[in-house]
Symmetry: C2
Subunit: 506 residues, 2 copies
């Protein structure tokens, strides 16, 4: 009997290896499409990606998969399986249940709707015409409500969507942390807006040749511990990091020759994602567990490097001179302090992805409140533009002049991704909380940054976060490291301390 | 009943679409591995390629495939199927029979042997030690003999292998054409070796910066009609062209800064392959028929451009000035005539891939005679180095100093590819024969070259060759264009005329 289970386990592992192989092929095709695939091949390439994706999806809901899950879920089986296999079975079951509960024809209809909606959204955004997009987002919301019906929910319907991206995080948690954040940040943002001590920023926008930016960025990635034998840096319109396997984790960036911040901070951000994927335990290779455990934990890694490393003054004590070597004229008359204050300017803005550290969480909060309202039937799709604009005025004191820079700015909803946005803010809170524990282990944290010795930071993150891949749930990772649950106070303290100093608030 | 057949046909097309989708993913992964994939990801990537390849192979021999073939091969079905489907069924059956006749365990053993043999071959070549490689090639030959037993043969055992690469071409054909070629070329090579009119070539080997070579090469590809919206040019150690789909056909090249010929003629050669794939009818997209019809016809396209276009003096009447723009000093003191003669120098050499136009067929002939001997039990593997060296002395008047530049120089046998080499020479003969017909349609052929107006040539090749993909057998393509079968005389005439002129033989 034991032998039989071992055989089933082996066959099951081989089965998931195949699904992961499809995923690697799909990811590479996606990377290639964005980094330079010739445009006349795109249509057929999309068909190919569609065929392989359908195959992988079919495998996740097949009778064969159901049989593996059943055979490997008996109490007898559980006693003889490795921890990795147990977790694999658990994850596979979760995926199977999720996918299987939706009737096949509805799912197909939904997939077609998604791709139509994305293309209509592009047009609507261009024309700043929400009405064009409205029928599509209405259907997308309706589909997701129906899916919640199939999947079931606890306490709040929106919880089911949140759980897809951040297992264990609920409306209750988010109401609490966002409430605290709002109470503290909104007044701070207001004080800063009224402050007379805004930094000079003009010098940031001088011409900085792309090739020089790239060279500097490569130096910083190296400093972070990004392994170039297991990755590469390319150029794309929308930057991203993608893991093909832990030995091949690629980063892309975008260059603005009149604003070096885009490439530098963008690459550091994506580099943080990449460090996570490069350092997942090789024991998980070839399985779906060889992946970040959640969107929020993933974002905690990118934001850790972007905010807690590269927007820290210590980091620039050495790297500012390096930056000057690549951009010799631009910063000649600018002191380190002026530079540091400039890159940390905070100013209410309309576009999420251009927001600074302080105002960013407010952008997320607005989206969270709207999504929660949508799925609890408190907000109707037709009212989205108005509600969006009201909230921007309330939280940030500015109002979008049209929907293109308002409710139509993000692609997420067009792709049917509801429940995703909160991960961005959660990642930020996680990062602040991790930092608070990290400095107990690395009390010379700022000194390390000053010396450009970032390796101990990467090693700490690998030990406590990276290596586990999907073996640990996000909130367990947090608990094991910090001894507590999600606690937004660390982020609030960080922002208060930093911004009262930069803006010399009394 | 008709409806039933239509349904089977649709399902069958969908099935082959899937196989082709796997192939596109596999090809992209291969391209990526050679153009810059990070090395630590290679091992897992190879697993992924292995998994997808096994899947595609399995699909070609599955019961589902057998059922499609059976249902679509009835005389009733044949009446209602499109030409494309009929050909698809024919090709699928051929593939099915070929793969199915080999017992699965033997095939698996053979695949493992292939990959071991390639790695041992690399070592053996490095050490110039044939004995190291001998046990592997012995097994590879033995396997292929056994496979011939399974597959059966007509007249000559080696015919079965030839047919894999060049359907319809037999030992009888090759003995005939190679005999004629040998009788004419060997004496010509000898006369040239003894000629006092060898061209100066020193100026070819001056420093020519890689970026400049690349820029020039891009100009030439454009001139050829290579569509950059359906392709791209990258750098690799071993140049190749690869079709992902007709809208995405990529070329790679290699730069030697002290010998611009490698990149320029190499890219033109691969560009010829790429033009074929870019111009296959879109009606065949997504099916295995959307591919070159044979190795020989494929090579006819690359060699047409390499030899009949870019080693033609008319081609350089305009492009020599262009070349000078990119390499200003190198050719200042060199007349067009001197340049033309230098790039057409002929000299017996040991390495096939470095051979010139005139001696190249002799390299192929030697491999052909050896392969034919091996599979007819007239040559034993252990005698290969000796026989190899004898033949080089006989045909080319030079003798390899060791096996690394002798019998171990090519990878083909290590990969189990016996019967492949003749395609190179066939492609050359086809190209000469096509050219002979083409100039009847394009009597101003040389003028077109002089004007850099290569488009009518590409269009002619598309009309007569490219568009058909695998819809026509190689010898049918030849017959439909030229009205005759394979005729080596055109190549002999071409070489005679060209080389007696360049070497001023009387």
């Amino acid at each position: 009997m034991m032998i039989a289970i071992k055989q089933v386990e082996e066959a099951f592992i081989k089965y998931v290896n195949k699904m992961v192989a499809y995923q690697e092929a799909i990811s590479l095709m996606g990377w290639d499409l964005r980094t330079g695939a010739p445009k006349q091949g795109v249509e057929q390439r999309s068909n190919v990606i569609g065929i392989l994706s359908a195959e992988a999806f079919q495998m996740s809901t097949s009778e064969e998969m159901a049989a593996y899950i059943a055979k490997l879920s008996t109490s007898e089986a559980k006693q003889s399986l490795s921890q990795v296999t147990l977790k694999l079975v658990e994850e596979s079951k979760k995926e199977y249940d999720k996918n299987k509960k939706i009737p096949a024809d509805e799912y197909k209809e939904y997939v077609i709707l998604q791709s139509q909606a994305e293309s209509v959204w592009e047009e609507a955004r261009e024309k700043a015409d929400f009405e064009l997009f409205r029928p599509y987002i209405e259907k997308l919301v309706a589909f997701n409500k129906k899916f919640i019906g199939y999947w079931g929910y606890k306490e709040n319907k929106y919880n089911t969507l949140l759980d897809m991206y951040e297992p264990g995080v609920t409306v209750k948690t988010l109401d609490d942390v966002f409430g605290k954040l709002r109470n503290q940040i909104v007044p701070l943002v207001k004080r800063i807006s009224e402050s007379a001590n805004a930094p000079e920023t003009e010098f940031l926008f001088k011409h900085f040749p792309k090739e020089k930016q790239r060279a500097f960025t490569l130096e910083i990635l190296k400093q972070m511990g990004y392994n170039f034998e297991a990755g590469r840096l390319d150029e794309t319109v929308h930057p991203f990091a993608v893991s093909l396997n832990p030995g091949d984790v690629r980063v892309t960036t975008r260059y603005d020759e009149n604003d070096f911040r885009m490439a530098v901070f963008g690459t550091i951000h994506e580099g943080g994602h990449a460090l996570y994927e490069q350092n997942i335990s090789k024991k998980l290779m070839g399985t779906p567990l060889c992946d970040g455990t959640s969107m929020g934990i993933h974002e905690s890694q990118s934001l850790f490097y972007e905010n807690f490393v590269s927007r820290n003054k210590s980091f620039w004590k050495q790297n500012y001179d390096l930056l000057k070597e690549y951009a010799p004229d631009q910063f000649d008359q600018v002191s380190l302090d002026e530079f540091y204050r400039a890159i940390n300017e905070s100013k209410p803005s309309l576009i999420r992805i251009e927001a600074d550290e302080l105002t960013y969480p407010l952008h997320i909060m607005i989206r969270y409140e709207i999504e929660k309202g949508l799925f609890n039937d408190e907000i109707a799709v037709k009212d989205l533009p108005e509600i969006w604009n009201q909230k921007y005025e309330e939280y940030l004191g500015i109002k979008p002049e049209n929907d293109s820079v308002g409710v139509l700015q993000d692609v997420h909803w067009a792709g049917g991704s509801f429940g995703y946005f909160p991960s961005y803010a959660l990642g930020y809170m996680y990062a602040a909380q991790l930092k608070n524990t990290m400095i107990k282990d690395l009390p010379n944290y700022d000194k390390l940054l000053e010396e450009g010795n970032l390796l101990p930071i990467r090693e700490w993150l690998t030990e406590h976060v990276h290596q586990y891949g999907k073996m640990k749930e996000p909130l367990n990772i947090l608990k094991d490291i910090t001894g507590e649950g999600l606690n937004v106070q660390y982020l609030i303290d960080y922002l208060y301390e930093k911004y009262t100093k930069i803006y010399q608030l009394t």
